[in-house]
């Protein structure tokens, strides 16, 4: 039988297997990874920051100050590990569950909180919830309809190729998102045009209440890349070193003109889907307990301590330092004034056409009248 295709590139074993560097308890599975100590400590610090910030966003939502939050807990390694492989000039097309990726790109906790609380400094001017981004970090804010960003990452990568820029784009999306047309058309284009893009699938096992087996009959998500001529690599998404390692390989492939890669980071959403969700309706507690044992921070902490790169005391100090810094930022941001109402009518076009100019008058008149009537709307 004749075998079509390049088996070597579309290595099916890597799409069906699971790459890891550390086991669930933080012991190296095959030799010591040879990464600089500082990088290993940075990985852990970014994950700690993401975890603390995630907790605050949850708390602020319960206080009624944030409209909605999609908890990241348990998925920090995939976001941090993958984005650490990017260079500053590379572009990121995130989804709504990658606080760690935002921090790695240089976004500050204050910028993230301004966004979430739609303060006067909200860089996205109150447009939507649970999405983050900023031009100065080459992070394009996610659309809430899932998977929409996937073809955008392909298009931007293709544009860079056409314009002769040696940059790479990376996009994040969930397991449920792979059922949408955007995912399939994105992979197909990327394969055909060898776009310098890295697809990072955060397979957290659930799309709200729908388990992975209801999304796909494929044995893995990574294997879907193979059918589009895009190498798929399945990796332990709770092993930050493993994620970083495969992301580096994918980024380098893309940058050297060899085309796209689909990375499936196998992980688990430990919290609810969003602050509006109640996971007890659809999943059992034992499953969550089991994945708590495999969560990425515990694993990395144990590894760093066993390598002598971190002591218990230093770990405590790291946590309390960031807890303090982030709490101070929260207090500061909570005191900022809200966005002015006029933002509602801004940024629809470069210049507002006549209808929006008229509606600006209507808005202002209505605000005056509401005051006169003594009516509080929000």
């Amino acid at each position: 039988m004749e075998v079509l295709g390049r088996r070597d590139i579309l290595n099916i074993d890597r799409a069906l297997g699971l790459y890891r560097v550390l086991d669930e308890d933080g012991n190296p599975v095959a030799g010591e990874p040879s990464l600089p100590d500082k990088l290993l400590l940075d990985m852990y610090t970014y994950m700690v920051r993401a975890r603390i910030l995630d907790g605050w966003l949850l708390k602020l939502q319960r206080m009624g100050r944030v409209a909605l939050h999609a908890p990241n807990k348990g998925q920090e390694a995939a976001a941090v590990g993958a984005t650490l492989a990017l260079k500053r000039e590379d572009w990121l097309f995130p989804s709504y569950r990658e606080l760690g990726a935002l921090l790695v790109r240089g976004m500050t906790e204050e910028e993230i909180l301004d966004r979430a609380l739609t303060t006067i400094d909200d860089p996205l001017k109150g447009s939507d919830f649970a999405i983050y981004g900023h031009r100065k970090y080459n992070i394009v804010p996610a659309p809430v309809p899932v998977a929409n960003q996937i073809p955008h990452a392909v298009g931007a990568a293709l544009a860079a190729k056409i314009m002769g820029d040696k940059i790479v784009t990376m996009t994040f999306f969930g397991d449920g998102s792979t059922s949408r047309g955007d995912f399939h058309t994105g992979l197909n284009f990327a394969g055909v045009f060898k776009a310098p893009v890295v697809f990072v699938n955060q397979n957290n096992q659930w799309a709200i209440s729908v388990p992975l087996k209801r999304q796909t009959a494929s044995p893995t998500i990574a294997i879907k890349g193979v059918a589009y001529g895009v190498p798929g690599i399945r990796v332990d998404g709770n092993d930050v070193i493993a994620v970083y390692t495969v992301a580096m390989e994918a980024v380098e492939r893309a940058r050297s003109g060899e085309g796209p890669t689909l990375i499936e980071a196998v992980t688990y959403r430990l919290g609810p889907h969003t602050t509006a969700d109640d996971p007890t309706r659809y999943r059992v507690e034992e499953e969550v307990r089991e994945w708590e044992r495999k969560e990425p921070l515990r694993r990395m902490r144990r590894y760093l301590i066993s390598r002598g790169l971190l002591t218990e005391e230093e770990d405590k100090a790291l946590w309390s330092e960031w807890e303090k810094r982030i709490e101070e930022t929260v207090v500061k941001v909570l005191e900022k004034p809200p966005l002015p109402p006029e933002v509602v009518l801004e940024d629809v076009y470069e210049e507002p056409p006549w209808n929006l100019r008229e509606q600006m008058r209507e808005l202002r008149d209505s605000i005056r009248l509401l005051k006169e009537l003594g009516v509080e709307l929000e």
């Binding site: 739609t118 449920g176 059922s179 709200i208 209440s209 729908v210 209801r214 605000i367 509401l370 709307l377």
Partner: protein
Amino acid sequence: MPVMNMVQALNQALREEMARDPRVVVLGEDVGRRGGVFLVTEGLIDEFGEMRVIDTPLTEMGIIGVAIGMALYGLRPVAEIQFIDFVYEAFDQIVSNMAKIRYRSGGMYSVPMVLRSPCCGGIRGGMHHSQSPEAYFMHTAGLITVMPSTPYDAKGLLKASIRSNDPVIFLEPKSVYRTIKEEVPDRDYTVPLGKARLVREGSDVTIVTWGAMVYQSLEAAKLVEERHGWSVEVIDLRTLFPFDRDAIVESLEKTERLVIVHEAPKTVGPGAEIAAYIAENHIELLRGPIARVTGFDTPFPLAHEKLYMPNIARIYMALKKVMQY
């Protein structure tokens, strides 16, 4: 008679229709174990099983395309789009197929399905959990578009929609889901498609509205009555297309003034069609210009949504303009 909110009334409508007619199936994202994100399909999977209450992969195009195929073959699918803001992936299937198969097949095939979905703003849902895209559907020949504003109407209209032989877009104003409660009969009844409801009688000016804006309009009506003594009639359109032109004309014969209130943006919005219909056919009834109070011509914002949506002040301003013309 039991008192219910809209979620409970819709749930009962689905339950009764599924029990009455084995061809009725429910499909969508999270409609099974989760019971839908707003719990409209809660418990159905226990009663009717996984073959009739189907948790689908996450693709609106797939949900609607597959539901169309089911309807062609003989089922009566009720497909849930989790939020109407996510329907756009399915537009090709809706516009090119759901709406056109009857015509394309010379009447041999039809697509008796319901696309039901939470719509509209008022719950701090931001840009992609708040939209009112009814105009797209009203503009598409072959579709019936419905939006109830009360639990009673929700149950009766959903049952009528499931029994319709034409495809129905059934939009549920989510801000009303749990805020309005009323007596809803435990028994089978329908509310006819194409018929408006007179919500409040008045003699000076008519407000035509639907969905959650019924309640804003009632508040504004009360305000101008107190302040100016103007008597406002409020009509809840319920079926947006084909809309109940007779109900509007009958009211205008009395009031001679028209204000249209909807959450959808103004430009080429649903109100434009109603205004054009009256201007083309009944200009003689009107004493002055028609006014529209609508969502602004922008994406739906997260910040200041209550200022973006028609509110008591903006409806008041329009009533004043029309009354003092």
